[in-house]
């Protein structure tokens, strides 16, 4: 009797759980749905009031997408963004894992102070640094080059990545493993390569997803650096595009943004199984 009642209650709870989750999901994706629908509609119908949320299928077509592909160098922008994303993700992963390892394990005088300085960089509003950083970039002749964006993105993502990785290394990788390597005559670098890298890989993957998003998102710096059309990344291209068209052609803008999301979604789906486990550690327990 008691178990039956218990089963019923837990079944009800299951139903309740799914209902709430699905409802929440709907609320979360309504704006996205609206975006995709608007991308598929004719421009002229975008501003009709009341808004038509469920247009007949016959009203939908891929005209806006075709227009974008024919009239902009979309794949070039995408390629640029991917290049920036991959190189900066890899560089950031290498540097921040090295740094995290150094901060977590090696005995460096004053390392707490250095770590605090690196972390406090995260606190300065990014926008405030654009002017001085631009002067730095032009000193190294990095303006109007993808490398200018890559190097600075790497530099920006390192503090946060280091912070997360350091926590992961401290909490999830036992020091005894290091010591066994030292006993066998290994150097700190052997430890890094054979212990830290393999064992911290879920965390590195998680950090990389976050960093990968960055070039698809960042606008201020990339707009300052990337002048020529053929080296622009997607956010710059999108914002130029929607302002360049004296009439805001929402259908085109939404079509472009919908397409820009696809690679990010794919990347997320590929790595998502590492995402949760990689973050799931003491790393973010403060």
């Amino acid at each position: 009797m008691k178990t039956k009642n218990y089963r019923l209650r837990s079944l009800l709870f299951e139903i309740f759980k799914y209902t709430v989750t699905i409802l929440g999901l709907l609320i979360m994706i309504i704006p996205m749905y609206y975006m995709i629908i608007s991308a598929l509609k004719d421009n002229a119908t975008t501003f009709i009031y009341p808004p038509n949320l469920f247009p007949r299928l016959s009203l939908l077509d891929f005209r806006n997408f075709i227009y974008i592909l024919e009239n902009t160098i979309f794949f070039r922008y995408l390629w640029n963004t991917l290049i920036v994303a991959f190189i900066s993700v890899i560089m950031s992963a290498v540097f921040s894992s090295l740094l995290a390892y150094a901060f977590a394990r090696l005995h460096i005088p004053g390392k707490k102070v250095i770590f605090a300085v690196i972390i406090s960089i995260m606190l300065v509003p990014g926008l405030a640094l654009i002017v001085p950083q631009f002067e730095l970039a032009s000193m190294f002749k990095l303006t109007n080059k993808l490398s200018g964006v890559i190097l600075f993105y790497t530099a920006w993502t390192i503090p946060f990545s280091t912070f997360l990785l350091k926590g992961y290394i401290e909490d999830n990788i036992s020091k005894e493993l290091d010591e066994s390597i030292y006993v066998d005559g290994g150097s700190p670098f052997t430890v890094y390569r054979h212990i830290i890298i393999p064992m911290a890989s879920p965390s590195i993957a998680a950090v990389s997803i976050l960093n990968f998003l960055f070039p698809f998102e960042e606008l201020g710096w990339s707009q300052a650096i990337l002048k020529s059309d053929e080296i622009r990344t997607l956010p710059v291209a999108i914002s130029m595009f929607f302002r360049a068209h004296s009439q805001t052609d929402w259908g085109y803008v939404f079509a472009m943004t919908t397409m820009a999301m696809i690679p990010v979604v794919i990347f997320y789906l590929l790595l998502q199984k590492y995402f949760v486990t990689g973050l799931s550690s003491g790393s973010i327990k403060g």
């Binding site: 150094a102 631009f134 032009s138 190097l151 002048k227 130029m240």
Partner: protein
């Protein structure tokens, strides 16, 4: 510590690897920043023109870079101290004083043949380049604002095309309905309210641009702003800058929401694209006539370019302001400044409203050419918006504007 130096070395290596090297050849390459619009086909025309120019001048290569309006302005600001600047730029006439205050512009009136070239263009348009005794640019395109109206909406409400400002204001309540708002004014700066003020005999600053007290807060200006405030509060005038949720002017025209707007040549292009049945006249007269505001773009050159680049850039400017290039640009909606192009039959056919604009240009006024102008206009835009939305009474808001501007000009 060892690790640190490895990191450092790697980093330096990457920096050097990425910097690469620039091979200089005999050709002079000039960089040209502009905001010609992509959607109207202006960039395609520009590319054709550049190809022609390069054919005539085989030793010059023009590298053109599109940036939208604010990106253009911000890029020059960012690049000013380090010299990451183009060799030639085509941008808003309001950029001249601001860039000059950054000390980056070249006084191009020092070229021997500047006067000859300047004589080919509208003097009123070129006046926006004078700072002190020198010219810091050459007019590229001009425009002014004329009154556009949606013919279908006017007909439906049985409203005649207004012949005076008072008739215009009187028409707005008549046009107002559930699906129509009489007029739209996208911002509240002098670009927007200036024509109404000037046409009624008001002024923004004293003639020598030293004070606003007694000008921006004079009775005439107060009355003009009061009229706008009454209309706005009755919902007969829309202001997307005061209510960012209001439909933007372009979208509003396309959906036949707005019946009137005082606007420039681009409105003709977007209305035609949206299939709107529209007409346009010069701003209807106020008590002191019809005085619209002068807009447009200038070509500017930069100090930090090498002498060869400066000479090449000047050649390019001359090419772009001659009749041929100006007519080609007129076909895609850029109003010429070249006197011959203004009369050119092809240009007039391409821009049916050209005569209307030319009439309006005869009396149009430039905004004051002072370095602090963008701040002055921001003060005015803020205070006028406070007055129009009724946050403050018109007199109080404009008195505050006068005080704030005088403090700024007094610095």
């Amino acid at each position: 510590m060892k690790r640190k130096s490895i990191i450092l070395a790697l980093f330096l290596f990457l920096v050097i690897a990425f910097v690469g090297c620039n091979n200089a050849n005999e050709k002079v390459t000039i960089e040209f920043w502009h905001n010609y619009s992509a959607s109207d086909g202006q960039i395609t025309v520009l590319e054709t023109l550049i190809a022609e120019f390069e054919e005539d001048n085989p030793n010059i290569e023009v590298n053109h870079v599109f940036m939208e309006w604010s990106a253009l302005k911000n890029s020059v600001t960012l690049g000013a101290s380090t010299g990451v600047l183009p060799d030639v730029l085509r941008g808003d006439i309001a950029f001249v004083p601001q860039f000059q205050s950054l000390n980056v512009l070249l006084a191009i009136s020092e070229f021997d043949d500047y006067e000859t070239q300047a004589a080919k263009v509208l003097a009123s348009a070129n006046s926006s380049n004078i700072m002190g005794d020198d010219y810091y640019g050459l007019a590229a395109n001009t425009n002014t604002k004329i009154l556009f109206y949606n013919e279908d909406l006017l007909e439906a409400a049985d409203v005649d095309v207004p012949e005076s400002l008072d008739e215009l204001w009187a028409a707005l309540p008549v046009l107002k309905s559930d699906s129509v708002i009489g007029m739209v004014e996208p911002w509240t700066g002098i670009w927007n309210v200036g024509p109404y003020i000037w046409s009624e005999g008001g002024e923004v600053l004293s003639p020598d641009n030293t004070t606003a007290e007694g000008y921006i807060n004079s009775q005439i200006v107060v009355d003009v702003i009061q009229t706008l405030a009454d209309l706005y509060q009755a919902g007969e005038l829309a202001g997307p800058s005061m209510d960012p949720g209001a439909t933007g002017d372009t979208d509003g025209w396309a959906s036949e929401l707005y019946a009137f707007e005082l606007d420039g040549p681009w409105r003709a292009a977007s209305n035609t694209a949206a299939g709107i049945n529209y007409g346009a006249i010069p701003l209807p007269e106020g008590s002191e006539g019809s005085i619209s505001v002068l807009g447009g773009e200038n070509f500017m050159q930069f100090k930090n370019s090498s002498t060869e680049e400066q000479v090449a850039a000047w050649k390019f400017i001359k090419f772009m302001t001659d009749e041929h290039a100006q007519v080609e640009m007129a076909k895609v909606g850029q109003m010429p400044v070249n006197l011959e192009a203004l009369e050119n039959a092809e240009a007039v056919t391409a821009m049916p409203l050209l005569p209307v604009f030319q009439e309006a240009l005869l009396t149009a006024r430039a905004r004051p050419v002072i370095p602090q102008w963008s701040q002055v206009e921001d003060i005015i835009a803020t205070k006028v918006a406070e007055a129009i939305t009724g946050t403050k009474t018109v007199q109080v808001a404009l008195d505050e504007a006068a005080a704030a501007i005088d403090e700024l000009l007094g610095d």
